[in-house]
């Protein structure tokens, strides 16, 4: 029976041969049908992964924030016709923080086997590298961009981190990273820990965990970087 393969891709401009397991690459190279967040990026990923066929000969359909829910069942057509399909995100693991999860759920509903493959996840790399512990943790996506909502949300997360001993993770767009780190450093208790994971698995990777107090005045380090932030109290 045809399966829906969830194929991770590199987190930036590095060689897939170095950062993806051979099993993941082998599946990506074998498939001829793909559902992807953006066709242009996906073609570049498949080419870099050494797909043996002319990239323009592959069947590539898009699934992104513009795709109406009603269009999703049609994306399962190749699977129903017996062809394996690969799902790719713009970067990292598909069906986590992208619209691909809707296709995975549709596959489950149609009794189509789903096979997740191994590869890089900025969220998981940030969690490992933080030292804040993952016995319990939560990922919140983006925090509110405006005050006072942002600082209120930060203090809520700090309360949860202390009460549940759970690391709280979230992201920010590069141009707002310094503003968020400033807000964290001033809204959190001085000894609460803040972890920063920027450009993970890429050249120039920045990984630092410090107390809120120690980050004050040092927040330019994350300027214009894609950061996964964490807060916690340590293990």
């Amino acid at each position: 029976m045809a399966s829906l393969y969830l194929i991770p891709v590199p987190l930036g401009p590095v060689s897939p041969d170095a950062c993806l397991p051979p099993d993941t690459l082998a599946v990506a190279r074998r498939l001829e049908h793909f559902v992807v967040e953006r066709a242009k990026t996906a073609r570049a990923h498949l080419k870099a992964m050494g797909h043996p066929q002319p990239i323009q000969a592959l069947q590539i359909e898009e699934l992104n924030e513009h795709t109406p829910a009603a269009a999703i069942p049609a994306l399962l057509a190749p699977l129903k016709a017996g062809h394996d399909v690969g799902l790719l995100s713009e970067a990292g693991c598909p069906a986590v923080a992208d619209p691909g999860a809707a296709l995975v759920l549709a596959a489950h509903r149609a009794n189509i086997p789903v096979v997740p493959l191994i590869g890089p996840s900025s969220i998981l790399l940030a969690l490992m590298a933080s030292g804040l512990g993952g016995q319990r943790f939560a990922f919140h996506g983006y925090l509110p961009a405006k005050e006072p909502e942002r600082s209120q949300s930060i203090r809520e997360l700090e309360k949860t981190a202390r009460r549940d001993r759970a690391t709280q993770l979230f992201i920010e767009t590069p141009y707002r990273s310094v503003a968020l780190l400033d807000a964290l450093a001033s809204a959190l208790a001085p000894d609460t820990l803040i972890s920063v994971g920027a450009d993970l698995s890429l050249p120039g990777q920045l990984i630092q965990t410090r107390s809120a107090k120690a980050w004050r005045g040092q927040t330019d380090a994350v300027k214009d970087r894609l950061v996964v932030f964490g807060i916690g109290i340590g293990v």
Copy 2:
């Protein structure tokens, strides 16, 4: 400057060559100093990863639930002497749901660079494969084993999943998996979705997402399996 490398290992008895990226294997094979959850398993992992040196010649220190907090700074000694150190868990990614995070935090406090490497994580594979979405999600470790606390905790998680549109993940020991899935199927609203990810990335992998109602009477599927469970409302 010497770095602390976080080295993922396979999730079970499969070849590291197939499921780990070449970069991860290259670091593991190059290092001579390791901090590991259990020395015996770590030696087997390093041998399977093709470490070129006699395994008994490597310096392997243990860090696990029996290690007193006071013993952790001494584990940084090779790093301070200029040797790179690799941190290994029993399975999957280190410093997530194991005691290794304490060493990572100690490294940050000593200004020692921390480098997370790419590899398999059962939590992340389960999240991707669930189709429940990871725009927001939380991992809770183990739920209470006894009633009525277990069902109470299940209903709390369902409330959070609906309110925050956040997938809620948790694990259970193999001999209690059926009991937990029974409790989920009966405590949750009939249309709440339950995902099961068992023996992920291994032969015999089981991946299924169904409504609570559809799981009723079908829970033997997870008997004696190591399962990452998820609950959510879909995307």
